[in-house]
């Protein structure tokens, strides 16, 4: 089984988001970065599948030079190969991102053979565009399903079974012929922590770098939309104009007590708001 995971580098924001002075980005001077959580599970799943089924695993990201850190994090837990589509900073819209990723996958497959399974996150943690995986799948003509929290394979390894939560509770199962694409969600597995030897090994590995232009190159990789009447080539967007914090509705908490002695006041409150009664 040959597997590719597409991951995105995102800031590890904590209690309060702080924006840069121009309002165009999160101020990351005091923040670390991480792989978006859904995709962390995609990385873990790829490693587990290859451990069990044999084959190869690769990770790909489109981002700044620093995104190499996230590729090495993925290699530290067992991904074999890493590809960085290096941007010159600035954000890429989801249409252009999908175009560049689809183009790269085609080139990679021409050189190294087919990816049986390509994993995306259900949505990127930062922009939450909910579309890059689907766009890549449509461009490559492969079946795709999002929201996946469980993956298994048919006996002949020609199909994947994927499960996700149904609206209103319960589970739905999908059966996809390989090659296929899945958008996964956190909860798929519990990602392992990298070991020290794993980190050392990852440090020495090569990262294949592909330089991208200073701004999105359009969306060539996606080909023209089928509805020629509407779009001769895919229209990029949406275009970010700026970021801002939502208005805060709440004010500081009313401290009703300290330590176990606060219990009577808490229970009074629970009675008052109608949660408890005699």
């Amino acid at each position: 089984m040959n597997i590719l995971v597409c991951v995105k580098r995102v800031p590890q924001t904590g209690g309060r988001i702080v924006l840069t002075a121009d309002g165009q980005a999160i101020d990351t001077r005091f923040l670390g970065h991480t792989i978006s959580p859904h995709e962390e599970c995609g990385v873990e799943e790829a490693v587990r599948i290859v451990e069990k089924e044999g084959g190869t695993s690769a990770v790909l990201t489109l981002g700044p030079a620093e995104a190499e850190d996230q590729l090495r994090d993925a290699m530290a837990i067992g991904i074999e190969r890493a590809i960085l589509l290096e941007t010159q900073g600035g954000e890429w819209d989801p249409v252009s991102t999908a175009g560049a990723i689809a183009e790269t996958i085609e080139a990679q497959e021409a050189a190294n053979g087919r990816f049986d399974l390509i994993l995306f996150g259900n949505e990127a943690a930062d922009t939450g565009d909910y579309q890059v995986g689907v766009r890549v799948a449509v461009a490559l003509g492969r079946p795709v399903i999002n929201g996946i929290k469980e993956i298994s394979f048919g006996d002949d390894r020609r199909v994947a079974f994927a499960r996700r939560e149904a609206p209103g509770g319960g589970w739905e199962t999908y059966e996809l012929p390989l090659p296929a694409i899945l958008g996964v969600k956190e909860g798929l597995n519990l990602p392992r922590y990298p070991s020290v030897p794993g980190r050392l090994r990852a440090k020495k590995k090569d990262v294949e770098r592909i330089a991208l232009g200073s701004s999105p190159s359009g969306a060539q990789g996606l080909g023209a939309g089928e509805d020629a009447a509407y779009a001769a080539s895919p229209v990029p967007g949406p275009t970010k104009l700026g970021l801002r914090l939502p208005a805060e509705e709440r004010t500081a908490a009313d401290v009703i007590g300290r330590g176990p002695e606060a219990a009577p006041a808490v229970v009074d409150l629970l009675e008052r708001i109608g949660v408890l009664s005699k």
């Binding site: 579309q131 766009r135 999002n146 996809l176 004010t251 401290v255």
Partner: protein, 331 residues
């Protein structure tokens, strides 16, 4: 501008989904700004009955594809059907609910049509260039964006629009127009082939009126017994932060937040949770929040309505003991 805004209405059990009704509210506000009409598109055998209920929500014309092959969820097939309708009608915008299915189907429509898509929009201003506000980071950050395309594809962020009928119950039922989309075999490859019903028993985290949440401060998997006891007394459910699911103290299904569940109980009791923004987006819809935390400076204090400063391992048992001694039970 005039024209139509096309809304994809999801439905189940013969009823329109709540989030789709929100999407209709959003579409109605948009349509009134540009003097457009609101059309709906519904898929599957039950769609005509559901379409007839949409008059009070401002729908004048409903396009229904009564094809049993569209009964089970199949995102590419649903998208093909919506796109067939879009191609025939050229709406100025297509609006869907920002649900799992809504976002997924719209992404397929966008990819096939070569159009951009804006997910989880909360506000839109049509003009020469359409301006919109959309959620990032599950709503902890907002983005001002431009959407320039002949047809604007948008999903509406859940729970940001009220579900108010446009008119009192007397609105006429919409005109129903049947259409028969052509489906390629490939469109039906990714479709639901099996189902497992929700395990019953206990109140589910998503439906609970009271939720007791635990974070790193709970200290261990065993530490959650105290929270379980309190939740049982209050007729509620237990949830947790990402830290406790990553440590394996609780299953991921119990996680509240950006990459877990978003809840809206009457009361949320956050025990040993610092209040990271990704956790807060999952619980801020609670009517009231009570925080129990050793640190009076933790960010949760700025979000909570009430707080107890203290060690949850002694505060929570003191509360459960007090409830027992007063002989109280949940309503």
């Amino acid at each position: 501008m005039s024209g139509t805004v096309l809304v994809f209405v999801e439905h189940a059990g013969g009823e329109p989904d709540r989030l789709s009704l929100e999407a209709l509210g959003f579409a109605r506000a948009l349509a009134s700004k540009v003097d457009a009409k609101v059309d709906a598109v519904l898929l599957g055998s039950a769609s005509e009955g559901v379409a007839e209920m949409l008059g009070p929500f401002g729908v004048g014309l409903a396009h229904v594809a009564i094809n049993p092959r569209l009964d089970d969820y199949a995102p590419a097939a649903w998208a093909a059907a919506i796109r067939a309708n879009v191609a025939a009608r050229s709406p100025i915008a297509v609006v869907v609910a920002g649900s799992d299915r809504g976002n997924e189907v719209l992404a397929h429509v966008a990819a096939r049509a070569g159009l951009p898509m804006a997910a989880n929009v909360i506000e839109v201003r049509p003009g020469d260039s359409w301006r919109l506000v959309r959620q990032r980071w599950a709503g902890s950050l907002l983005e001002d964006a431009a959407l320039d395309a002949p047809i604007r594809l948008m999903s509406v962020a859940p729970h940001t629009v009220a579900v108010d009928p446009a008119t009192a119950g007397t609105a006429p039922a919409p005109t129903i127009s049947r259409f028969e989309p052509e489906l390629e075999p490939g469109d039906l490859v990714a479709r639901v082939v099996g189902r497992e019903a929700r395990k019953s028993g206990g109140v589910s985290l998503g439906d609970a009126k009271v939720v007791v949440g635990g974070g790193r401060g709970v200290g261990s998997a065993a530490g959650f017994e105290r929270l379980e006891e309190l939740a049982a007394q209050l007729g509620g459910a237990v949830g947790g932060s990402r830290v406790v699911t990553s440590l394996g103290w609780r299953p991921h299904a119990d996680q509240i937040g950006q990459t877990g569940l978003r809840i809206a109980p009457d009361l949320y009791i956050a025990c040993g949770i610092s209040g990271a923004i990704q956790h807060i987006v999952g619980c801020k819809a609670a009517k009231r929040i009570l925080a129990i935390n050793t640190d009076p400076e933790s960010p949760i204090m700025a979000v909570a309505d009430y707080a107890v400063i203290g060690d949850l391992s002694t505060v929570v048992p003191a509360i459960t003991a007090e409830i027992r001694s007063r002989g109280l039970s949940h309503s």
